[in-house]
């Protein structure tokens, strides 16, 4: 893999740090008029999702990370692995629990999502920003309540639990924002 010097740092660049693949979120060049230059970067560890701040001496080189994003379709889970397919090529990938942990609750069969590969093996799965899922369980709503104030937990077909307004009933299709896990609206079927 190519090496990158600090002067090539920019948002989106994937580099190796402490043996983990990371993505640069923000890069700041710091240099006093008289004195040492540094690059202070905000960086996301693509394995753990954690964001950290690191400083490099300007001019230093770091190894690039072989990381690519792919559009894939979720097929099924066999309990140990989660299986995905690239629709165009029918190429299949199996992801471990660690790669799907935060996303799997949003995925129903056939869903299209983004898979991040590191050295050709799945590192993480990112669901679409919005998904539409069916409510499989929730308390019956109060009659006449359409305001949505208060809310109640609802369980969806994928197992996800989201707070929904009181008027939402079992069997309804609901639009959810996966980035914050919040109810957006009823979905039109």
């Amino acid at each position: 893999m190519a090496k990158y010097s600090t002067n090539e740092f920019k948002a989106g660049l994937k580099i190796m740090l402490d043996a983990d693949p990371c993505a640069i979120i923000e890069n700041e060049f710091i240099k006093p008029g008289k004195g040492q230059a540094f690059n202070r970067v905000k960086i996301r560890n693509l394995k753990t999702g954690r964001v950290i701040e690191r400083t490099f001496k300007s001019g230093e080189s770091v190894e690039g990370a072989d990381v690519v994003d792919l559009e894939v379709q979720y097929l099924y889970s066999d309990g140990e692995f989660w299986h995905f397919m690239v629709p165009d090529t029918f190429e299949q990938y199996q992801a471990e629990a660690s790669a799907v942990e935060d996303s799997v609750k949003w995925l129903k069969d056939q869903a299209i999502c983004t898979m991040t590969l590191w050295n050709d093996s799945p590192l993480s799965i990112t669901p679409p920003n919005f998904v539409e899922l069916t409510v499989t369980d929730t308390d019956p709503g109060l009659k006449g309540d359409t305001s949505g104030g208060g809310g109640k937990p609802a369980t969806f077909e994928t197992g996800a639990v989201v707070r929904v307004p009181l008027f939402v009933q079992i069997g309804e299709l609901i639009k959810i924002d996966t980035r914050n896990g919040e109810y957006v609206s009823r979905a039109k079927e």
Partner: protein
């Protein structure tokens, strides 16, 4: 169509820049400080290992093989040439020109930038500090008494921000501070380099402390960072050097100017030795400048201000690209 032929900044900034330059020229005219010009293209350059320069080749017309070819440098600041004028008896002078620093590109760095540099014959450092405050208030069009100015010594500020003494390099103290304060990268990067430790801690932990101030003047830098300033006569641990920060962003650097040619040459040699140790090549010492010092530089204080940054800060922008028509990536 590709729109990068367009200025990066709003056209309003052309007017604001012109206004700023006009105010600066008026400010110095009123004080009888003479505007001068010195070469941007010079036969020598500074030895400071932390400043990388641009070089280019001069050759005789239509003859690239001629013996009269020579390497020329785009100057990183007009300091040496202006001091030659001072030594020749020019009296107080100012200059507005471009300066060039290789490898310095970022949100608040452009490899080519506009510098305002001036020297006041007979001024000590506190007098120059007052004049900088006056100039900046003039440019900002505020009454200097209404400007929130914070004057603090480097040592006090550093101690207040970190609890560390910047005048005493105690590696174990510095390392445990870095470990406990989220900058453990400093340990590997700085190693045993005292000056680099100061730069690291100052930029990461001290500068944020002065962000609330419209104007902060930090004086009496550690002697190890004296650059071209005199060592203080009463306290040899510090140099007669100060820096100006607007909301934590470095804007200017001023010295009570070193006039001792022997000391100056020693610093050049030391910096050249540092360059070699860092794997850089040594730089030819500017003999014109050394000869000027030998013939006698009047006691004076001088300072350089980055005008692009000043414009950026006065218009509350976060990036130089917002105030320069054609920044580096459009130049």
């Amino acid at each position: 169509m590709d729109q990068t032929w367009q200025p990066a900044c709003d056209l309003e900034y052309l007017r604001l820049r012109a206004q700023m330059l006009k105010k600066i020229r008026f400010f110095f005219e009123e004080r009888a400080v003479l505007e001068v010009e010195t070469p941007l293209l010079c036969s020598t350059t500074g030895t400071d290992p932390q400043l990388d320069f641009f070089s280019c080749e001069y050759h005789s017309f239509a003859n690239k093989e001629s013996l009269s070819n020579k390497i020329m440098y785009l100057q990183t600041s007009p300091e040496f040439a202006m001091k030659r004028l001072l030594a020749a008896g020019s009296g107080s002078v100012f200059q507005i020109c471009k300066a060039f620093r290789n490898g310095e590109a970022g949100q608040i760095h452009n490899p080519e930038f506009t510098i305002l540099e001036w020297y006041r014959v007979g001024f000590d450092l506190p007098q120059l500090m007052d004049e900088v405050v006056d100039l900046i208030s003039t440019v900002l069009t505020v009454d200097s008494t209404n400007l929130d100015v914070y004057k603090v010594s480097y040592v006090d500020l550093f101690q207040q921000a970190t609890g560390l003494n910047p005048l005493e390099f105690c590696l174990s103290d510095y390392c445990s501070y870095a470990q406990e304060n989220g900058i453990s990268d400093a340990i590997d990067i700085c190693g045993n380099d005292y000056s680099m430790w100061l730069d690291f801690i100052f930029s990461h932990k001290v500068q944020p402390v002065i962000e609330p101030y419209a104007l902060a003047l930090v004086y009496a830098y550690p002697a190890i960072q004296s650059s071209l300033a005199r060592i203080n006569t009463k306290n040899t641990a510090v140099a007669d050097r100060f820096e100006v920060f607007i909301q934590g962003v470095e804007i200017a650097n001023g010295f009570f100017e070193l006039a001792d040619v022997i000391e100056q040459e020693k610093r050049f040699d030391q910096e050249n030795a540092d360059r070699l140790a860092m794997g850089l090549s040594a730089v030819k010492k500017d003999q014109y400048f050394l000869n000027a010092l030998a013939s006698g530089l009047p006691d004076c204080s001088g300072i350089a201000i980055g005008l692009d940054r000043l414009l950026m800060m006065m218009t509350k922008n976060k990036s130089l690209n917002n105030v320069i028509a054609f920044p580096f990536d459009r130049a």
